[in-house]
Point group: C2
């Protein structure tokens, strides 16, 4: 409670040397004698010295912090990627500050501004709003930024993403090949990239197989209430007697699997699903589900290394990485 906090000055006083010497000794500068270093370390330990990184960072003009801003950090996809970035970054001395935007552009903007005030050194962002002003501004200022997941290929700036449209087209076609005659689709924020690209892929599959595109079967799920909304929309599609359903991400797909198992058990063998993103449970769950697996580790590693390079200023040239996801037919 009433403990005095030890500073570098206290150590200096004790040894009758100056702050600068102590500072150098603690950072193991080659210009300091081993004897001094030893003494400094001893006294530091004795006084329970805790370096104040805030002060050091202010002086250095760097916070050794990177921010990870995504719609929802507890979504397995974002959680896994965050975890991997965290561990790579930590090895280089960077900590990860996380922020969830809840798919809310206003919140995202406020969050980013707040983080910039905190002098973050880099930002990894799955933006809710492609081409937002805040992001453009960062790109223009050449701020170390890696976009992912929610990016349009044409966007300025550095990004890592997976191909959306063709993959979804292939996944949908695989349902058609399995004999589906009437397909529905569920998506959150269908107007936003990359969800809209996935929907475009779905439509292309229908077109090239001469299915009629019934927009009534392309359903929007409320992202503030994914669970209930998915169930309502599934009920609707089932009423319309679809024999296959496509989902634009894993959240809705896993909800729908739950839904079918709980309320439409008899349809579990008949319905065919396809979804962007993969989950382990898709290997055995019913309805059978074809999925598009994003190479999570590869994405995370690339994001982390690209960002570290940018912060090191090793690379100032724009880097765009588009990965091919893996179609898992089931």
């Amino acid at each position: 409670m009433g403990e005095k906090i030890t500073t570098i000055q206290d150590i200096a006083d004790r040894l009758k040397i100056t702050r600068s010497t102590v500072s150098r000794a603690l950072s193991d500068s080659p210009r300091i004698s081993d004897k001094t270093k030893k003494k400094v370390r001893e006294i530091a330990k004795e006084l329970n010295y805790v370096p104040n990184t805030l002060a050091s960072n202010l002086r250095k003009g760097k916070s050794f912090t990177i921010a990870y801003v995504v719609p929802d950090i507890s979504n397995p996809f974002f959680a896994k990627i965050g975890r991997l970035i965290e561990s790579i970054a930590l090895k280089e001395g960077y900590f990860l500050l996380v922020g969830s935007t809840d798919e809310d552009a206003k919140k995202e903007e406020a969050l980013i501004n707040n983080l910039m005030n905190r002098q973050i050194d880099g930002l990894v962002l799955a933006s809710t709003k492609v081409n937002s002003k805040v992001v453009k501004n960062l790109v223009d200022r050449n701020f170390p930024l890696i976009l992912f997941d929610r990016v349009d290929e044409k966007v300025d700036g550095n990004y890592v993403l997976v191909e959306n449209e063709q993959s979804m087209q292939k996944a949908t076609e695989s349902l058609i090949l399995q004999g589906c005659k009437k397909l529905g689709l569920l998506s959150i924020t269908p107007e936003l990239y990359p969800l809209n690209a996935r929907i475009a892929g779905f439509k292309k599959a229908l077109e090239s197989n001469h299915f009629e595109i019934n927009t009534d079967l392309i359903r929007k799920v409320d992202n503030n209430n994914i669970k209930e909304s998915t169930h309502a929309e599934m009920a609707y599609l089932i009423e319309q007697e679809v024999d296959g359903v496509v989902f634009t991400n894993n959240t809705m797909a896993s909800q729908a699997i739950w839904n079918v198992n709980m309320y439409y058990k008899d349809l579990a063998e008949k319905l065919k699903f396809a979804s962007f993103d993969n989950l382990e449970l898709f290997d055995y769950s019913l309805p059978k589900i074809t999925s598009i697996a994003q190479p999570i580790e590869f994405i995370a590693r690339n994001i982390a290394h690209m960002l570290l390079d940018l912060m090191d200023k090793k690379e100032m040239q724009v880097k765009k990485l588009v990965l091919e996801p893996n179609l898992i037919k089931r």
Copy 2:
């Protein structure tokens, strides 16, 4: 690139006033005239002023940051809780710094020290090592700290946890009531709390039902390789012809479900499972699984509010909260 960073001084110079006035104007101090505030804000915008929170925090002796240190931030349980704490904390102006320890006590210690250097204002910790020196030290110094999940009830300090032993006993007994005659158990780090308490509950259930305790059926899963290890141990238990398996957390349980569905499909209806933690998929997956659901939102809310109170010094008295989990029989 070659842009000069605007400071509060630049704004002051422009308006021929002092830094302090600008500082006060920007923080909307009542002692400043509206006219001045307005002008300051205008110039701030014009010069693209970005406040430097690092400097302000240094001055205030507070970082407005709390750390969330857990074994693995991508584990759904920790991810969800982190997400909830993050949003509550943000409302009070605190950001969340995350760190995963990989169940490695050394890593955890280094991480915590590192975070303390960063002048975090509070820490939420699911420690790998109950009663470690670092944690004791924080408790002694009255540092705002909330322990959870990995805590022994007798530990000093503030914590939120769920009852482990009895819950696991009940879950195990429900398998026995369903007719299981030979039960096995899988656990990571079985020597550490709360896993050991869960195992104790398992054993008590056996004892009170006059089952013999065959320690060979209590298997350890390697936490560096949960997937492979779970599969190996499941193979062993199946070879021993168990008719029920108990898991000390959701990671192993979901792996085992996968395993049975992939390799022992014929056993899916016969085997009975029980697990600490609940997952939605348990509602419909096979083998049937009885689970112990932790009240995640309640846990998170309590952690967040307890920590905020501590940081506010509203509460300096030790708070211990033990929650009763919810047994879901299936």
